[in-house]
Each structure stands twice: as structure tokens, then as C-alpha cells.
């Protein structure tokens, strides 16, 4: 849907897009506030005090360094999962297989680690990061290939690949790799050389009182790097340009000489690699082993994170942080108020829906010019396009 080229349009659109940047920040904020208002009503409806509810929620998320560390820790896997969905989305692919990809990535990471008991840290850590990405990436490349080669819709295949991944890793953990004599369905621990350091000591040396037990670890830094990497690939490389072109209009991209099949497969591969990196947090940073069923839906939350973040890497980062706040606060609410756990889920879901809807309303109210700006921003072949291909 390339907009017709009208002389002078490019400059005008760019101006509006510049103005739109403020709205891009303000709109989600307004939406979050509105969501909290509605959430408060829900809490009040069951006779609990909304003020207590939110105070507890935010105390859980922001009371001290420990809480903030937990927010970042909880956000870390969601950043990876969100990037996976957002990245594929840019190629016009709906990757809802993040859950399966992160299981496979985590399992491969654990397995490789268990095969290299004597390896030094400098070797093991990069190898494990690559193994995580490769596991998730190759798992995602299968539906990518099926899409590119046979035109089979990636949604059905990524869902099926989820079932296969969960079932397969469960089987492998329980039947083959379970620690002898133990009931817990988990593998043995990976070598210490493969563990990512927790950030507590680093922050303590800076004078931030993050307790040693806080699970925040170097995987969070990898997540930040991944945000930058996703942005860099999409915006600064030929492949990224091709991915956005294919996502925008595959036929036109093909006509322009882009190898659409190759691009689709690569997009899925990279998307899955981001999902696989969840292993750096779960396996290398936190549990140091593969625990069956550890994820409880991180891959699916990634879809919400990506949509909330408008499929931009930076947006994913902020969306994941919001989810991190909600998840961390929810635990506090669950522990220390009478608001039932189910209601916390309701408030969380209402918040997300309102943020997404509110965002959309604000975007639309910016009028026709703004709509164009929004489109041109999302469109890969836009007025700035030529400058971006290098």
C-alpha cells in the first residue's frame, strides 16, 4: 500500500512524523493511566480498596533496589520473547511459536553446557549464548521454510511446533536427563563456568543496595544488546531493509529483485534466535538447569509485549518493563492483600487491552496527515528508505 507520491508530501509527512514522536510517548502513558483507573474500578467493585491495591502493587515493584531488580529480572525474558514476535512481524510473519522456540533454545543451551564440563568461562559463555540462539532459531526456521517453500501459514505451524517443543523437552528431561533419584523434572546443573553473573555484586560496588539473592543477572544486559541488535538489523542492514520490504508487500519486493523465500526463512530464524535467548536468563542466569515447564507462557506474553510496543525494538523494551512491573507488583498484591489472584490477572489484562486500544485511539485522532505519517513510519519503503539502504 505504497502511498501515491505527491510533490511536497515527503517533507510534510516528515514534519508530522516528528510531531508524532511526542504523541507516541504520551499516548501509551495516557492509556496506562486510564487502565489504572479502570483497574481501580474493578478492585473497588469487589469491595477492596483500590488505593491499597495500587500502593501494594507499586510497593512490590519500586519499594527498593531489590524490587526494581525483580522488575528487570521479570522483564528480561519478555524482552526476548517480545523481540521475537516484533521481528517476525516486520517481515509480515506472525510468529506465535516463541514458547516452543524458547524451550528448545533453553534445552539446547543446557545440553551443550552439560557436554562441556571442563570448558573455561571465556569459551563456554559465548558458546552457550550462541547455542541458545541457534536452538530457538533453527526451530523457528522450520515453519519459516515451510512458509517459504510451500506457502503453509506460519501460524498453524508455529503453534504445532510449540506442542512438539514442550512435549519433546518434557520427554527428554523426564525420561533421559532427569537427575537420578530426584522427583523434580529437571536436568543436572550446568558447569559453573557457564553461569552468567548476577548483577547484585556489580550494583553493590556502585553503592546500590541490591541484595545478593536478587536474581537479576547479566542476561538483562544481553537483552538490552538484543534490543539494539534488532533495531540495527531492521534499520541499518540490507537484510533488514529486505525484511521490511517483504513485510510491506511481498510481491512488490520480489518484483524489486528481493529473494522473498530467503528473506522469510532468515526472518524466522532471527526471530526464533531472539526467543531462544530466553535461555540466557533462565538457564545461564537464574536456575542453572533446565526445569520442565519453566516458562508458563512467556512466549505468548511476547505477543502482547510486541503489540504493545508497536513492533519496534525500543517499544518492546518499554512494554516488557511495564509487564515486569505488573508481574512483580502482582506477586506483592497476591501475598499481602485480600485481592484474589484471579482479579490481579483481570486487572493486568484490562490494563493491556486499554493500553493497546488507547494507543490506537490517540493515533487515529491525529487525523489524516498523522495517519499517513504513521503508515509511512511503519512502511519499509518510505521517504527515508533510500537513505537507509547501504
Amino acid at each position: 500500500m505504497s502511498s501515491p507520491r505527491i510533490p511536497g508530501m515527503a517533507t510534510r509527512v516528515r514534519e508530522i512524523a516528528g510531531a508524532g514522536k511526542i504523541a507516541d510517548v504520551v499516548a501509551p502513558l495516557v492509556a496506562v493511566l486510564a487502565a489504572f483507573l479502570v483497574g481501580g474500578l474493578v478492585v473497588a467493585a469487589i469491595g477492596e480498596n483500590p488505593l491499597t491495591f495500587y500502593l501494594t502493587l507499586f510497593r512490590g515493584a519500586f519499594a527498593n533496589a531489590d524490587s526494581i531488580g525483580l522488575v528487570l529480572f521479570n522483564a528480561t525474558p519478555l524482552i526476548f520473547a517480545g523481540l521475537a514476535v516484533a521481528f517476525a512481524f516486520r517481515a509480515g510473519l506472525f510468529n506465535i511459536g516463541g514458547e516452543g522456540q524458547l524451550y528448545i533454545g533453553s534445552f539446547v543451551c543446557t545440553w551443550v553446557a552439560l557436554q562441556m564440563p571442563g570448558a573455561p568461562r571465556v569459551l563456554l559463555i559465548p558458546v552457550l549464548i550462541l547455542a541458545s540462539a541457534a536452538g530457538g532459531g533453527l526451530w523457528a526456521a522450520i515453519p519459516g521454510y515451510l512458509k517459504a517453500r510451500f506457502g503453509v501459514h506460519e501460524v498453524i505451524n508455529t503453534i504445532m511446533m510449540n506442542f512438539i517443543a514442550v512435549g519433546l523437552t518434557s520427554y527428554l528431561v523426564v525420561a533421559v536427563f532427569k537427575e537420578a533419584g530426584q522427583m523434580t523434572p529437571q536436568t543436572a546443573t550446568i558447569p559453573i563456568a557457564g553461569e552468567l553473573p548476577r548483577l547484585a555484586y556489580f550494583f553493590q560496588s556502585l553503592g546500590v543496595p541490591l541484595p545478593a539473592a536478587n536474581p537479576l543477572n547479566a542476561s538483562f544486559l544481553i537483552a538490552l544488546a538484543a534490543v539494539w541488535l534488532a533495531w540495527f538489523i531492521l534499520r541499518r542492514t540490507t537484510l533488514g531493509y529486505e525484511i521490511r520490504a517483504v513485510g510491506h508487500n511481498a510481491s512488490a519486493a520480489e518484483y524489486a529483485g528481493i529473494n522473498v523465500r530467503r528473506t522469510l526463512i532468515l526472518a524466522m530464524l532471527l526471530s526464533g534466535a531472539f526467543a531462544g535467548l530466553v535461555a540466557t536468563n533462565e538457564v545461564m542466569g537464574f536456575r542453572h538447569r533446565f526445569l520442565d515447564n519453566f516458562s508458563s507462557g512467556i512466549g505468548f506474553m511476547g505477543i502482547a509485549v510486541a503489540l504493545l510496543g508497536r513492533n519496534s525494538p525500543l517499544g518492546v523494551l518499554f512494554a516488557a518493563l511495564l509487564f515486569g512491573v505488573l508481574n512483580t507488583g502482582a506477586l506483592e498484591v497476591d501475598l499481602f492483600t485480600n485481592v484474589p489472584r484471579e482479579l490481579i490477572l483481570v486487572v493486568q489484562a484490562v490494563t493491556i487491552i486499554l493500553v493497546v486500544v488507547g494507543n490506537e485511539i490517540v493515533q487515529r485522532r491525529r487525523g489524516r496527515g498523522a495517519t499517513l505519517a504513521h503508515r509511512s513510519e511503519a512502511a519499509p519503503i518510505d521517504q527515508d528508505g533510500s537513505a537507509e539502504v547501504s
Binding site: L37, G47, M183, L291, E332, L335, F336
Partner: protein, 337 residues
């Protein structure tokens, strides 16, 4: 838009005024004895394992001045975080219900030596030394299962028994082994069909799967099924009622769930164990370490009440009581796997 926001804001303000006076948060520093309970997969309301633990907590809260809170972790990492937060909030006793808490308990107990921790169904490592403030509660389920196996063996008309486990793990194998041994003890000719709902924690929370497995076994001539599958077992009992066969409940007394169709229940007195461990902390005589609870300690047993009295004959009960005495005396060797 502005009007709408204002309206919403006023509504919330109004609701604050209406509910504002109500204090809902348990205050954090009343000096009262505080107990926190963290539940397993399936969670509160499973009418089985978790509920049994919860009953123990409610009972002691009735008998003594105790403040208590309980929660069910939403995500895996919340298990440890939740335990930590309870410890930080000054809870005196923190109880993890289910073996999945074993690892988290080990690390949190070391960090908070002033709090007392107890883990039900603790996943002990061989010759493990636990910290002084951590009690690992282990039940000899095979002994109770042996007894209900005897009952099933005596009761079955077809000589075909069934067993449905939740998650396929050594813990549940103990139930299976005891049950089969007990059934053979009562009637050497019985055959036992064994099924498991799955290999993940979800297998304890899948009544549909439980029903499906049970219908399959009843369809093949099985007339008594013993389930050791938590919430999944609700489906097994449902299947017994539908087909007119018998089921045996587990963990809690489940006889009431389908009167006339639940032969008996292998009760695992998680409630007693929870009560006892909290009481020991209240009376300052809490002891860390692995504690095994079997028939002799009244940690396991079988249930007879109004709901199943017509199914259990005097002769059956007499036989079972003899067997029970023999197990306690060590005259019968009950296999664990």
C-alpha cells in the same frame, strides 16, 4: 476524551471514598505469629493435596492466635521470590506445599535463618543435611497405598484393578508400588492396569485427562481405580460415578465427592503434618531435617465415613486393620518402587 477521563477519575475517587475506610492489608508488624503458605501446581481448591495442607493451616489458626497468608505462584520464578518476600516480611513459619519448592526452600532457608521453613513432599537428596530451620516432610505413601490396595483387592468383583497417577515421577511411583503390592497381598490373582496423566506438573491439574483415562480402564473391565493425581482425580471420580464403578480417592478424604462410588480414600495427613510443624515452631521446639511420616506416625491412612460405610464391610475393615498393625510392626515389607 477529557470528559471521559474526568468521569473515570471521579468514579474512582467515589469508590475510594466508599471503600476507603476498609482496611484490607494485614498490617505488617503486629507482633503476631505469622504463617505463610505457598501452594503447588493445581493450587488451593484441588480438594486433595493442597486443600489438605490448607485445612491444617486453618485448624491451627483456629486454635491459636496466628496471622496467615497464602498464595499460588503465577510463574516459576515467583516460587523463590514469594518465599523470600514472606521471609522479608517477618513471617515466622513459611510452608511450601509440594516438591517443586525443594530447591527454592534450600536456598531461601539459608538466607533467612530466623524464619522456619517446611516443605511438604520434600525432594530430598541422598544423605542430605538440611539447615536447622528447614524441615523436609516426607510421607510414606506406599504404606497407605498398600492398605487401600488391600481394600481394592478384597472388593473387586472382576479381579481387575486400575491405577491412575498424575505426573510420572518417583513420588507417584510410591503410591503405585504400595497399591499393587497391597492388592496382590489381598488377592494374588488381581491384575492392575496403570496409567499416568502426563510427565509435567500440569498432569496434576487435568480432570479431563483423568476422566478419559478412567473411562478407558473401566471400559476394559476394571472396577476399582485408585488415583494419585491431585486435581486430575476429580475426573477419575466423575468417571466412576458415570459408569457405576468404584474409585479410590487420595490425599484428602474424597469419599463425599461421589457417595457410593468412592470406595475409600488414601488420606495423606498433610493437614496433621502442617499443624504439627507450625505447633512445634509456636512452642519453640522446631527441628530441621527430613521427617518421614508413615502409618505409625498417623501420617497416612484410609478413610471410613458415612459416605462409604455401605461399601466397606466389617470383615474388610478387620482385615485391613490387621494388615495395618503388621506394617507398623514391620512384619510386612512394603515396596517403595
Amino acid at each position: 476524551m477529557k470528559k471521559l477521563t474526568l468521569f473515570a477519575f471521579l468514579l474512582v475517587l467515589l469508590s475510594l471514598v466508599v471503600t476507603g475506610c476498609r482496611q484490607s492489608t494485614p498490617s505488617q508488624d503486629t507482633g503476631a505469629f505469622k504463617v505463610g503458605m505457598v501452594f503447588d501446581v493445581g493450587g488451593k481448591g484441588d480438594k486433595s493435596f493442597n486443600d489438605s495442607a490448607y485445612r491444617g493451616l486453618l485448624r491451627i489458626a483456629d486454635d491459636f492466635e496466628i496471622e496467615h497468608t497464602e498464595f499460588e505462584p503465577g510463574q516459576d520464578a515467583d516460587r523463590e521470590t514469594g518465599l523470600r518476600k514472606l521471609a522479608q516480611a517477618g513471617f515466622d513459619v513459611i510452608i511450601g506445599v509440594g516438591f517443586l519448592f525443594s530447591d527454592s526452600m534450600r536456598s531461601v532457608a539459608v538466607d533467612y535463618p530466623d524464619a522456619r521453613f517446611a516443605c511438604v513432599d520434600f525432594d530430598a537428596r541422598p544423605n542430605e543435611q538440611l539447615p536447622d530451620n528447614l524441615a523436609g516432610l516426607i510421607f510414606r505413601e506406599e504404606e497407605g497405598s498398600f492398605l487401600v490396595g488391600v481394600i481394592a483387592g478384597l472388593k473387586s468383583a472382576t479381579g481387575r484393578l486400575g491405577f491412575i497417577g498424575g505426573m510420572d515421577v518417583p513420588l507417584i511411583h510410591r503410591f503405585e508400588a504400595g497399591y499393587i503390592a497391597g492388592a496382590r497381598y489381598a488377592n494374588p490373582a488381581v491384575s492392575v492396569t496403570v496409567g499416568y496423566a502426563g510427565s509435567t506438573p500440569q498432569a496434576f491439574a487435568d480432570p479431563a485427562k483423568g476422566k478419559e483415562l478412567a473411562l478407558l480402564q473401566y471400559g476394559r473391565g476394571v472396577d476399582v481405580i485408585y488415583h494419585a493425581s491431585g486435581n486430575t482425580g476429580i475426573g477419575v471420580i466423575e468417571a466412576a460415578r458415570e459408569t457405576g464403578n468404584l474409585a479410590i480417592g487420595v490425599d484428602s478424604n474424597q469419599n463425599y465427592m461421589a457417595p457410593g462410588y468412592v470406595l475409600t480414600s488414601m488420606v495423606k495427613r498433610v493437614d496433621n503434618a502442617v499443624y504439627a510443624v507450625i505447633l512445634s515452631a509456636l512452642e519453640n521446639r522446631f527441628e530441621g531435617g527430613v521427617q518421614e511420616l508413615g502409618l505409625a506416625e498417623d501420617g497416612v491412612g484410609y478413610a471410613v465415613d458415612d459416605y462409604n460405610s455401605e461399601l466397606m464391610t466389617e470383615a474388610m475393615i478387620e482385615t485391613v486393620e490387621t494388615v495395618r498393625a503388621k506394617i507398623i510392626a514391620g512384619e510386612i515389607d512394603v515396596p517403595r518402587d
